[in-house]
């Protein structure tokens, strides 16, 4: 009989062993023999790796020699290799959409215990594919132009690296940062492991380069509000918060800060993790980019009472002559058009007060590692001097690893950076104060270039290492040596003894976790999160910076805990992916759009209200609905709702879906 397209279906079925991934569970020869008995199957073959060149060659040769006009590959998920085999089908001389993939790896061999049942399930899936593919028809994919401009969300080291790479390649980049300065977490660090080079020495030039780059438009103190459109053509709304200082006029001279009615800083500085203080008008740190002051309306007297003499404004106007301060500034909504988006929104650190037995927030000399980063930083609140809250120098310091990480009560994952930064802090504390430093670790994890060597070095610097999970930090002392100090109680698991170590300062090596609003952000950009809340990559190995939403890429610690070298590498990878997308100039869209048969349409309007993209309109003269192909995204909602069965979705026609269901149920 003739197929739906006038040609007789001649089906080729190719069953992949995937090494032992499929072949080790599914009886592939039996499945192939079964496939040969199915209607219109001309040839059925098995091969060790269908995705390899010789595997693809089987398809191409059969198309040419046996006039195969429908191709089924039973192997892995279509999300992995559909593209590969469509291409092979095309190269063999057939329309690429006369191909269908039967997923017998992810959905069969990897999830089924019993080999016999796995084999039966594989047969059912292949039979379904054979039934379905009879209804496939040649299709053409649509090409749409790609806007070469790029949006990068997050101005930490990941966002900065991606922005510079893309801008150097000549792309227009919009870099949106939530804080008033770019720099992210890295800007807060003093030294970086394992080379101990100074963080700001390597970061500041990059931050300045971002500011000076003609291709980068830096939008700080701003957040993404809305994202519309699709790969190649996104429209993004960005909310720029009022900083009450006009950016173009401010020269970062600090005169306003000096003239604030507050003679001394009074409020905890966010940048200094609350270790240092700031005034209501402030510049977060001296290397800030842009170097522009910002007014915090929560603490500024003018905003609280409206009765401030506004000396900052007066000084800016009269002393500097810039008149940059504007108390009436309103938030601004910017709309930008881009073709691709890179999310580099980073991480937050674990809230140490969630573990009450470690005493954070209760004992003043228990610090988080990020607070210590500010304390050891030469541009930090103490000028790099490591002192206790009362100004004394610590004689002994305990560093507790894995705070919130590798702990079923909190975060089960390893945060990857804590062992190394704890070693770094141990080195810095020992070097600058000469204090006894104790590291309390569960396992020492130092995989990375030069990392194990750094650990080795620390072992010879007189730093103490005690293997064991700390039970508690307490000020309950039992002997004169402990008096007035904090005591760390721990089981030293190498000697099997519970020890009490008295220290003056405790550093909690807090782990990394997804940002609190990662979930909102994920929805905004229509991507997925892992169960833990990290942004989900398209493939953990082969597509680590891509997402399931085309045109949206991820880089850095928003994808999972990682250190600076890995973050920079990922940012480069994301920039590379963006370039390969936008430099092509166009993208091919799946032809899975909906099509209306005007002869069947009764003009009932049901589909028009349902379409989430307003792609369907009503043709008054013909009295039928019509679809704008350029707007249709291929969800098929209208198809499922049409009471006249007048709409079909290409690649997902009712006949195809129902034939597939029928085929799935044929095998017992």
């Amino acid at each position: 009989m003739a197929g739906r397209n006038g040609d007789l279906p001649r089906i080729g079925v190719y069953v992949c062993h995937c090494g032992t991934n499929i072949g080790g569970k599914v009886n592939v020869p039996e499945v192939v023999a079964f496939a040969r008995t199915l209607p219109n199957v001309v040839v059925a073959r098995e091969y060790k790796y269908m995705c390899s060149d010789p595997g693809q060659l089987l398809i191409k040769e059969d198309i040419q020699k046996l006039n195969i006009n429908r191709v089924i590959v039973a192997s892995c998920s279509p999300h992995l290799h559909e593209h590969t085999f469509r291409k092979a089908t095309l190269e063999g001389g057939q329309n690429p959409y006369l191909f269908h993939m039967a997923n017998i790896r992810e959905h069969v061999s990897w999830v089924t215990d019993d080999p016999e049942k796995a084999t039966e399930k594989a047969k059912a899936i292949i039979e379904a594919a054979v039934y379905r593919i009879q209804f496939h028809e040649p299709l053409e994919s649509k090409q749409v132009p790609v806007n070469p401009d790029v949006l990068i969300v997050g101005g930490g080291i990941a966002g900065i690296t991606a922005a510079l790479t893309l801008a150097n390649a000549g792309k227009k980049v919009y870099l949106v940062e939530r804080e008033s300065s770019i720099g992210g977490h890295m800007a807060k660090f003093d030294k970086t492991f394992p080379t101990l080079d100074c963080a700001s020495c390597i970061l500041t030039p990059k931050m300045t380069a971002v500011k000076d780059h003609p291709n980068i438009q830096l939008i700080t103190y701003a957040e993404v509000l809305e994202v519309d459109g699709y790969v190649g053509n996104f429209t993004v709304k960005v909310k720029k918060k009022p900083r009450y200082v006009i950016e173009d006029r401010c020269i970062g001279c600090y005169v306003c800060v000096e003239n604030c009615v507050y003679k001394t800083p009074k409020y905890p500085s966010e940048f200094d993790e609350g270790i240092g203080l700031r005034k209501p008008i402030y510049i977060p740190f001296p290397q800030a980019v842009p170097l522009v002051a910002v007014i915090d309306p929560e603490t500024c007297i003018e905003f609280k009472s409206g009765r401030c003499p506004k000396k900052c404004q007066q000084a800016c106007r009269e002393v500097v002559g810039r008149d940059a301060i504007d108390f009436t500034q309103k938030e601004e909504i910017l709309e930008i058009q881009v073709g691709a988006i890179v999310l580099a929104t980073g991480f937050q650190t674990f809230d140490a007060s969630r573990i009450p037995e470690y005493g954070y927030g209760r004992y003043p000399n228990v610090y988080t590692s990020l607070e210590i980063e500010r304390l050891v930083n030469s541009s930090g609140p103490t000028g790099g001097e490591i002192v206790l809250r009362d100004g004394r120098k610590p004689r002994s310091v305990g560093i507790i690893h894995c705070v919130g990480s590798r702990d079923r009560n909190f975060n089960p994952w390893c945060s990857r950076v804590c062992c190394m930064y704890s070693l770094k802090l141990a080195h810095l504390v020992r070097e600058r104060t000469g204090a006894e430093v104790y590291n309390f670790y569960i396992d020492m994890r130092t995989p990375g270039k030069g990392y194990e060597e750094f650990y080795e070095k620390l072992l010879h610097e007189g730093v103490h290492f005690i293997r064991g999970k700390v039970a508690e930090v307490t000020d309950w002392t039992i002997n004169p040596e402990e008096a007035g100090r904090l005591v760390i109680r721990v089981e030293d698991s190498l000697i099997g003894v519970v020890r009490r170590i008295p220290v003056d300062m405790v550093i909690l090596s807090v782990g990394l976790e997804p940002r609190a609003d990662a979930e909102e952000l994920r929805r905004l950009f229509n991507i997925s999160c892992s169960a833990e809340g990290w942004f989900l990559e398209r493939h953990p190995k082969l597509a680590p910076v891509s997402t399931y939403t085309d045109g949206v890429f991820i880089a850095g610690a928003c994808q999972g805990p990682k250190d600076i070298p890995d973050t920079v590498a990922q940012a480069g990878a994301a920039a590379g992916e963006v370039l390969s997308l936008v430099d092509r100039g166009f993208i091919e869209l799946e032809p899975n759009i909906a099509v209306i048969d005007a002869r069947k349409c009764s003009g009932c309007h049901v589909c028009i209200a349902l379409c989430p993209y307003s792609a369907i309109s009503f043709n008054e003269t013909e009295n039928v609905a019509q679809i704008n192909e350029a707007l249709c995204k291929g969800c098929g909602v209208c198809v499922g709702a049409c009471p006249s069965r007048a709409i079909h979705q290409q690649l997902f026609k009712d006949e195809q879906i129902m034939a597939e269901i029928e085929g799935l149920l044929m095998v017992e």
């Binding site: 009989m1 209607p39 219109n40 998920s77 279509p78 999300h79 997923n103 790896r105 992810e106 959905h107 069969v108 990897w110 999830v111 089924t112 215990d113 049942k117 796995a118 039966e120 399930k121 059912a124 899936i125 379904a128 054979v130 039934y131 009879q134 209804f135 929805r523 229509n526 997925s528 999160c529 169960a531 989900l536 399931y548 939403t549 899975n592 349902l610 989430p612 993209y613 995204k633 291929g634 969800c635 098929g636 909602v637 198809v639 499922g640 709702a641 069965r645 979705q649 997902f652 009712d654 006949e655 879906i657 129902m658 034939a659 597939e660 269901i661 029928e662 085929g663 799935l664 149920l665």
Partner: protein, 159 residues
Amino acid sequence: MKSFEPKIIGLFCNWCTYLAADLAGVSRMQYAPNLRIVRVMCSGRIHPEHVLWAFENGADGVLIGGCHPGDCHYIEGNFKNLRRYLLLKRLLKQFGIDERRLRLEWISASEADKLRRVVDEFTETLRELGPFAQEAPLFQAAESPSPIQKSTLGMKEED
């Protein structure tokens, strides 16, 4: 006699539940082999007739999988699906079919474990309910209202 093994047709959206099934595979989670999956781009694409067609052709249960409310790749297709699902449940009851045979679950791309749990649970439920054919013998014997006839049978006759 072989014990009854229910057949489940899974109608899964491409972006969430189908990916959860992929992730279950990558994570080597073992679950009941009774599930057989059909991929659609969005759960909103699913027509009630797809479900009825599955029952008619020998399915003992149908599992619809979509993105969580608010997470739909196509903005709100899953809500459209929900409305049809609720109506269809009522229809099934009128046909004398136990409504537990149709199940809707929101399973995101990262919820492989939920998928495993739901499939195992659903398989157990259907084992207890017994074969669909016993419950609604007339339903399967009825002439199909579908626009396509049993696809391959038709073809073989014409050959």
